[in-house]
Amino acid sequence: MIQSRFPRRDKLEAEIELRPTRGTFSDDLKSGKAVATRWAYSPWLGDEIAASFYWGRYTPDFLDSHPVVSFAFDGKKTWGSFEIEGQYVNTWWSGVNGVAKSFARTVRDSSAETSGAETAELETEVEFELANLATRKQGYWVDFRYRFWPEFLNATILGRHFSNPQLISTFRAEQVWFSGLLNSVAFTGGALTDFKTENRLLNRFTFGLAYRPVPLVALQLAYEYTRTNQGKSLSTVTNFLTSSKDREFFQHAVLMGLTFGF
């Protein structure tokens, strides 16, 4: 949103949210080239290790081109009904500082049209909310799953009509480290006046139970505990909207889901 506010007609204010994403937002998607590859090796049935890589532009096409580069390792190990699966991902966003400057410059240059004596000297102020944009994010998740089906449930509605229903208990742990996470950027007249970054950590633990009557349908119930650095808000590193100021660094959540496959 870009506007001048009463009583200062000589000041143009812009509030912008920049969220990193993939692609160039261009109509011609072919101009946004990206490379993605995954190499997997499965020594035995049910076990797999793999490495993957992504390289692609994350800036819109009206800004300078900067790539996001990501590599990851993942693996899975199965012992009968018990599975462990996990992944480590390391991602860099290049030229974050330059992207912010370029964005502010573009906003100023594209919108500063004035008329009249009182607005001849137009001052531009641009405030950014750089949602989840960081120089580097790295983290991992690991899932422990156990599949089972108590025989007595075959006599109930949960099992009577299905040949291979399953209950799947899950414990999941994940951590993400944010390096150079931008929390505020401000420009006045095209000059950088504020550029604050910080390092953050996000922890999450999930306990869940899923009921899968057939492979393409699952009902899930899970409890999730999410926590970031004490005194910091979860809203800057997750999509949570926290309520209480003194408790906004952690959150309890109950998740319910229904999944269909087609």
Partner: protein, 192 residues
């Protein structure tokens, strides 16, 4: 970024090399009918081909033997083979079909004289995904299985992630073949 550029082109090169060798289509026709019995009974010297017409009576008997495993399609008839080495009967092979996700998977199941699965082989796979069920290491799991076994993923069969429906189809088809051989050859419905 210069170093990154070198890596970028290296990855492009490796990805392009990967394509023709590894990223092959999963659907395909892998065995003809005349080749199929030899794939499950390589030691056999002759095969007697017999076509068993499906009837309501036969379907009912198969249904009873399959229990909670319900077939996804009923064939009009079953192509079966009696595998022999000289005068000795080694076992029986049945060509069956079961629907994976959307389309039928055609495969042959070889059953020994001990009423246990001796081997299986995929003949035609028509889905774009889940073709890993053709792998020898997957099909080997069915060796030694018999009619009373569940033949289900996460029970007595190691599942393949992303191919669960195809894995279930192979289990159902194997059970159908076991039931058919049990009815036709071991209980002698054919002779009645």
């Amino acid at each position: 970024m210069k170093v990154l550029g070198k890596w970028f082109w290296l990855v492009c090169l490796l990805s392009s090399l990967e394509t023709p060798f590894l990223a092959t289509a999963q659907e395909g026709s892998f065995l003809k009918e005349e080749e199929a019995p030899k794939a499950v009974f390589p030691e056999a010297t002759s095969f007697d081909r017999k076509v068993i017409r499906s009837t309501e009576e036969l379907k009912e008997k198969i249904r009873q033997r399959m229990g909670k495993n319900k077939t996804s399609l009923w064939e009009d008839s079953y192509v079966t083979f009696v595998a022999k080495k000289g005068e000795l009967t080694l076992g029986y092979a049945v060509i069956v079909e079961e629907i994976g996700k959307h389309r039928p998977i055609t495969f042959i199941v070889g059953i020994g004289s001990d009423r246990k699965i001796k081997d299986s082989a995929l003949m035609v796979y028509r889905e774009a995904y889940g073709g890993e069920v053709r792998d020898r290491r997957f099909l080997q799991q069915y060796k030694g299985k018999e009619l009373k076994d569940p033949l289900l993923p996460y029970r007595d069969i190691q599942n393949i992630s992303g191919a669960t429906l195809s894995v279930e189809a192979i289990g159902r088809g194997s059970k159908k073949a076991l039931a058919l051989v049990d009815i036709i050859y071991f209980e002698g419905l054919e002779r009645k």
